[in-house]
């Protein structure tokens, strides 16, 4: 009995706020936009598909933040991976293009990882620098030109295709979230990610290979951003240096609102998914409400600020 009570008291409200917020905003938009086709299966499915790249990067970011690090370079990783993949796709089979996109993400993540885990530089500064560098690379690769993708198989798998009537982007979302959740919550690896973000010193003292785990989360985030790049490229039938440019804020907002702590040790993958859908919902609803782009940006910024303030206020004790 006492145990049960203690358990109830130890429930952290910040982990659940996102679900309440999600439902409230869903209801709010459903009422305000009831004549604008907001609450249709098609529109809702559309939201899920549009947020797929953000959701996948959010899954990677949950690992990174939980490990006590941050990855600011995901935006340009998206662009670089998408551009490299689409260049390869001009000449070659789709699996090679996809592999190059993912490998590019992994390689950039590995560079971040080496600098953070082994050279022991702060991830905030390392990825700030790689972000800047890669934004240049993304512009330089094709000299600001966009690259079209005409490979239908690629565009179906990473874009508008479907399997047994289920849109492929929905499959990607579900698959990555489930796999991410499994590794994050159900494996020793996930436990070690939590431990090193909680206290790297304590983790080292009990024999956890702190450097290796740190390196791995940076690679993971790079691969996630690479996959996000492929998904953008598949949906848009091409790549451009602007892909992913504004996603960093959205991803971090989704993850934090979802209940993952910025200072490490605590997080949830499902929360990040709901946080990401919440961002997509806002985006979609504000457009349907007929707000101009500048108004959308301002309203979205304020709502994200309010959500983060609420989440973190509850989290502080």
């Amino acid at each position: 009995m006492a145990g049960k009570l203690a358990q109830l008291r130890s429930v952290d409200p910040s982990q659940y706020i996102v679900y309440v917020g999600f439902v409230l905003i869903l209801i709010g938009f459903s009422i305000v936009l009831r004549d604008d086709g907001f609450l249709t299966t098609r529109n809702l499915l559309n939201i899920v598909q549009q947020t797929t790249p953000v959701t996948i990067m959010a899954v990677g970011m949950v690992f990174v933040l939980t490990a006590g690090e941050i990855d600011l370079s995901i935006g340009p990783i998206v662009a670089v991976s998408a551009l490299l993949a689409s260049l390869v796709l001009r000449e070659s089979f789709w699996p090679l293009g996809a592999a190059v996109g993912l490998l590019a993400g992994a390689a950039i993540g590995a560079v971040n990882g080496v600098l953070v885990a082994y050279v022991r530089l702060p991830s905030f500064l390392v990825t700030l620098a790689t972000m800047g560098f890669l934004s240049g690379v993304a512009r330089w690769i094709t000299d600001l030109q966009s690259v079209p993708i005409t490979n239908d198989t690629f565009n179906a798998i990473f874009g508008a295709g479907s399997l047994f009537g289920v849109p492929s982007l929905l499959i990607w979302t579900v698959a990555i979230v489930l796999v991410g959740h499994f590794f994050y919550h159900e494996t020793r690896y996930g436990a070690h990610v939590h431990a090193i973000g909680d206290s790297a010193h304590s983790a080292r003292a009990v024999g956890i290979k702190v450097d290796r785990v740190r390196f791995s989360v940076m690679v993971l985030s790079g691969v996630a951003a690479g996959l996000a790049g492929l998904l953008y490229a598949g949906r848009l039938h091409g790549a451009r240096y602007t892909l992913g440019e504004t996603d960093l804020l959205t991803v971090i907002a989704a993850v934090i609102v979802g209940g993952t702590r910025l200072n490490g040790g605590v997080g949830t993958i499902f929360g990040a998914l709901i946080g990401s859908l919440l961002m997509g919902l806002l985006n979609n609803g504000l457009i349907l409400m007929g707000l101009s782009v500048s108004e959308q940006l301002m309203v979205r910024g304020l709502i994200i600020l309010a959500a983060i303030a609420l989440t973190l206020r509850e989290a502080r004790r």
């Binding site: 130890s10 499994f182 494996t187 436990a191 939590h194 010193h201 003292a205 009990v206 024999g207 605590v266």
Partner: protein, 253 residues
């Protein structure tokens, strides 16, 4: 102690330190330290602040490599390059700062680095870890609300209990304790001393740092004094006096 007597006199000591020296960038922290600790024996390591006690513990468990000297476990030379290697040999440490992950539950802390898994996908076996944790802490009379409690929600004494429970659970040879009762009240200190006696009965070797000489006389079989990085002597607890130890610590007659 009867358990100690069960070990043949010819068995090599669990821990042997021979002429250990440690320098940090030219500054000598430990200068020529030698000590044996046998199974079923509690050895207290005493000395003033800065004498090098904590450094010595960190050298034994593999946090720092010694600059010179030999470390023997069961008579064989070892060279641990990180704590996981000493753990693999059955050595556990209760660090002064406890080395707990504060935002994780008690059971994850008890199994940190050695999580139990189940099934073909090697999923974390939380049920088993929680069950074993409850047994473990109850067995040691550590009172916590639940094995699911987060460390941050526990009192200082409870945290200390968790750190000690972890070390005693995983140790199969040697337990190193760095001031295990420094932050505790009277009742909690008694519990910890009981746990240390329990370790001796399990025939483990224990090396404990303590600032309380009363405590040292209560729990130890031998007392080793460290002064400014030098081992100035080892005494059988029953054959020495408080005054002798104090003068060895301070260097004054």
């Amino acid at each position: 102690m009867s358990a100690a007597a069960a070990v043949p006199a010819s068995a090599p000591p669990v821990l042997g330190l021979h002429n250990i020296r440690k320098e940090f960038g030219g500054v000598v922290a430990i200068e020529d330290f030698s000590l044996d600790v046998r199974a079923g024996e509690v050895v207290a390591l005493v000395g003033d602040n800065g004498a090098g006690k904590s450094t010595l513990i960190k050298i034994i468990c593999g946090v720092y490599p010694p600059t010179a000297g030999r470390i023997l476990i069961d008579g064989g030379d070892v060279r641990f390059s990180d704590p996981s290697e000493s753990q693999a040999r059955g050595i556990q440490v209760v660090y002064q700062d406890l080395a707990l992950a504060e935002r994780q539950p008690v059971y994850m802390n008890l199994f940190l680095g050695r999580e139990a898994t189940t099934g073909p996908f090697r999923r974390l076996d939380r049920k088993r870890m929680i069950r074993e944790s409850e047994e473990l802490v109850h067995g040691l009379d550590v009172r916590i609300p639940s094995a699911r409690s987060t460390i941050r929600d526990l009192s200082g004494g409870q945290r200390q209990g968790v750190a000690i429970a972890r070390a005693t659970h995983w140790a199969s040879k040697l337990v190193l304790m760095d001031e295990p009762t420094a932050a505790l009240g009277v009742a909690e200190t008694q519990k910890v001393e009981k746990i240390i006696r329990g370790l001796r009965e399990r025939n483990l070797a224990v090396l404990v740092i303590s600032h309380s000489l009363d405590q040292v006389f209560r729990i130890s079989d031998r007392i080793c004094v460290l002064r400014r990085g030098v081992q100035v002597g080892v005494r059988n607890t029953r054959e020495t006096t408080n005054n002798e130890i104090v003068s060895m610590i301070t260097g004054l007659q």
